[in-house]
């Protein structure tokens, strides 16, 4: 599903080079739910951005569904993201003047899907994430946990190959954090979707099937957590 080979990345600031990722190699299989764990500055967010095609790596290859995304043009990448990648943000990143349903539908707007089909799919997903009765509300009328559920529904609307979640519980209290992770785990199991969750919290990472741990730009561990996938 996703293969990262000899991936390195360097931030250039004038004449000074700061390496943030060094020769990273791993594979994530279809239907896996994987945590990318690391403390602040470990390079996990950079790795996520590279895998999502939002940045170009200095070296190495990222293959998603057999396609090397680092070689794609910006337009090709946009098209690739549109059909293959779902994205869940830490701060939800919903568009404030659009209703919950319209936010969820948005990726399909860029695909040119007709409004009736968009609506049908959005309502079905909102029901799955438990927001059936909030479809015509605006994001500001929802709690943080509910907004993240909207963001999750939006990431799934295009039926992507892989969903990247960047600190999806970072802005939530513990109870809501557990609910969101439960939801992601449930979606992974029921829809057989591949999830990559970036987190700095060991407790969140422990809920996944596998943890890829980074420190100072190095991949230091790829533990398969046998005790993962437990629901709270």
């Amino acid at each position: 599903m996703l293969r990262v080979e000899h991936l390195s990345h360097v931030f250039r600031n004038g004449s000074e080079d700061t390496p943030v990722l060094r020769d990273i190699n791993f594979t994530i299989h279809k239907g896996e739910i994987v945590a990318l764990l690391g403390s602040s500055g470990s390079g996990k967010s950079t790795l996520l951005n590279l895998m999502a095609g939002l940045m170009k790596p200095t070296e190495g290859t990222i293959l998603i569904a057999g396609q090397a995304i680092e070689k794609m043009s910006e337009n090709k990448l946009a098209e690739f993201r549109r059909t293959n990648i779902g994205f869940i943000f830490q701060a939800y990143e919903l568009i404030s003047h659009m209703t919950v349903r319209e936010n969820v539908e948005l990726p399909l707007v860029f695909q040119g899907v007709k409004p009736s089909s968009r609506k049908e799919r959005a309502l079905s997903l909102l029901e799955k994430v438990g927001l059936k009765d909030k479809t015509e509300m605006f994001p500001s009328q929802l709690s943080g946990g509910q907004q993240q559920r909207v963001s999750i529904a939006r990431s799934l609307i295009t039926m992507p190959s892989i969903v990247f979640a960047d600190e999806p519980t970072g802005n939530l209290d513990t109870k809501t954090e557990n609910e969101i992770i439960d939801l992601l785990v449930e979606l992974n199991q029921t829809l057989q979707l591949t999830f990559v969750i970036v987190t700095h919290e060991k407790e969140v990472a422990d809920r996944t099937k596998r943890i890829i741990q980074l420190r100072d730009g190095y991949l230091i561990d790829q533990t398969v957590e046998m005790g993962g996938l437990a629901t709270s």
Partner: protein, 454 residues
């Protein structure tokens, strides 16, 4: 991405930013209204002037002057009928394509008349084939032509300024006493516009049959007024009061000239009175056929004249007026476009985060760019619609002002449908052109930088 989605997203943005939208709309509305009003001014002025020119210069008519009177003084040097209007030639002309009517005219001169034994007036007597009057744009206000003998059709001006002998003498006296009194002249001008109803009345036409000032012999010919012509449009009452035309049949004109001949035996009548017609006028169905018809008439050994050159001159002048007006409108729109560029660029900056999210969700460069261009085109469209409303308001105001100052009840300024189209086109074009830079700038937004939170 579907067009309806571009429009829906763009419209949503316009509604959200009401103040900015309103400011930009005002700018475009003023610009497009300026173009609409300017073009309408040009077109209305051209049409108004053409109507005026047509009514005075008669561009759709060809005048053929009868040169029979000059030939008669030519000692018969040529047996040719060159320049002479004959019945046969008129019949040929009447059958030519594009000829609406042929009118023949003989000017008999200026004569006095009295009515009801009390009021006197003067008229310019012309003999014509009366049935052609309407074809030559004369509309009857009252009555029409008649089969009866001794009838006359009067122009509206001939009803004006009639007065009794006493009033006329008093007026002469006043003029002699103080010829430079402007107030007096203004008062006389108003008196000259007073209308006396003459329809169906009997006039006594006073003709000096000897045409000799030293030995005048006045013959009174009774004429019944069977028709009164309507006021010509676009001419002030002051001017109309000077237009005292009266039309009689050629048969009646022959009787009058016979009377004149009988009153001065052994003397020839002046050539203009002895000829059957002074001139013939050909009414053409369209001004564009005047030139070709003019050439055909020349082949009949006649000397036609037309006023086409006047139309060409006017067309050149109005082309200049229209170009200047359009330039002013475009300049205003250019100024308005600056406000859109500023507003849209600001909007791009304010919406960087939203653009970043859209890019992460899969929007490509073209989609982001098109979103902004459609939004600014919608802004142009809204401005254009308001511009149309605004221009109607301005045109209504100008018409009201013209009617108040010039008199009359007919609107001079009008807005043609094609001008509305031009106004909307320029408004939308301004929107689109103004949106290009902000759209490109928006599409180049780096998604990662845009969504990054400090």
């Amino acid at each position: 991405m579907r067009i309806s989605d571009y429009i829906s997203i763009g419209w949503d943005q316009l509604k959200r930013r009401k103040v900015v939208t309103a400011m930009c709309t005002i700018g475009i509305a003023i610009g497009s209204a300026a173009i609409i009003v300017a073009l309408s001014l040009g077109e209305s002025a051209q049409q108004y002037a053409q109507e005026q020119v047509n009514s005075f210069l008669k561009i759709d008519e060809i005048t053929i002057v009868n040169q029979a009177d000059t030939k008669s003084q030519d000692n018969g040097s040529s047996d040719s009928d060159r320049g002479i209007i004959t019945k046969q030639k008129l019949d040929i002309i009447a059958q030519l394509p594009h000829v609406k009517a042929v009118g023949t005219y003989k000017s008999l001169g200026n004569f006095g008349f009295s009515v009801d034994e009390s009021k006197d007036g003067r008229l310019e007597l012309t003999a014509t084939n009366l049935e052609s009057l309407e074809a030559f744009d004369h509309k009857f206000k009252q009555g029409g032509i008649s089969e009866q003998e001794n009838t006359v059709v009067l122009s509206y001006g001939a009803l004006m300024g009639l007065m009794d002998q006493e009033a006329m003498e008093a007026r002469d006296k006043q003029i002699r006493a103080n010829p430079n009194d402007e107030a007096m002249w203004e008062q006389f001008q108003e008196m000259d516009k007073i209308v006396t109803p003459l329809y169906q009345k009997q006039l006594k036409l006073k003709i000096d049959v000897t045409q000799d000032l030293n030995n005048p012999k006045i013959v009174e010919i009774p004429l019944r007024v069977v028709g009164v012509l309507a006021k010509p449009s676009g001419v002030s009452d002051n001017q109309i009061s000077w237009m005292k035309d009266a039309y009689i049949s050629h048969a009646l004109a022959d009787q009058i000239t016979d009377l004149m001949k009988a009153a001065r035996p052994g003397t020839e009548l002046p050539p203009e009175l002895s000829a059957e017609f002074n001139k013939a006028v050909v009414k053409v169905d369209d001004t564009k056929n005047v030139e070709s018809l003019d050439k055909t008439i020349k082949k009949l050994r006649l000397t036609p004249q037309n006023n086409l050159h006047q139309q060409d001159r006017l067309a050149e002048q109005f082309a200049i007026v229209r170009t200047v007006a359009l330039g002013v409108g475009l300049f205003v729109l250019f100024i308005a476009s600056i406000s859109i560029v500023v507003a849209m660029t600001m909007s791009t900056y304010q919406r960087r985060r939203q653009i970043g999210i859209m890019k992460v969700l899969g929007a490509n460069l073209a989609q982001i760019r098109n979103m902004f261009i459609v939004e600014s085109a919608l802004l142009g469209l809204v401005g254009g619609v308001f511009g149309i409303l605004f221009s109607y308001w301005v045109v209504w105001g100008i018409n009201a002002l013209l009617m108040a100052t010039e008199g009359g009840d007919q609107s001079i300024l009008f807005i043609s449908t094609w001008i509305l189209g031009v106004g909307i086109f320029f408004a939308v074009l301004t929107g689109v052109l103004s949106g290009i830079y902000p759209a490109i700038s928006a599409s180049r937004t780096d998604a990662l930088t845009a969504i990054k939170r400090d």
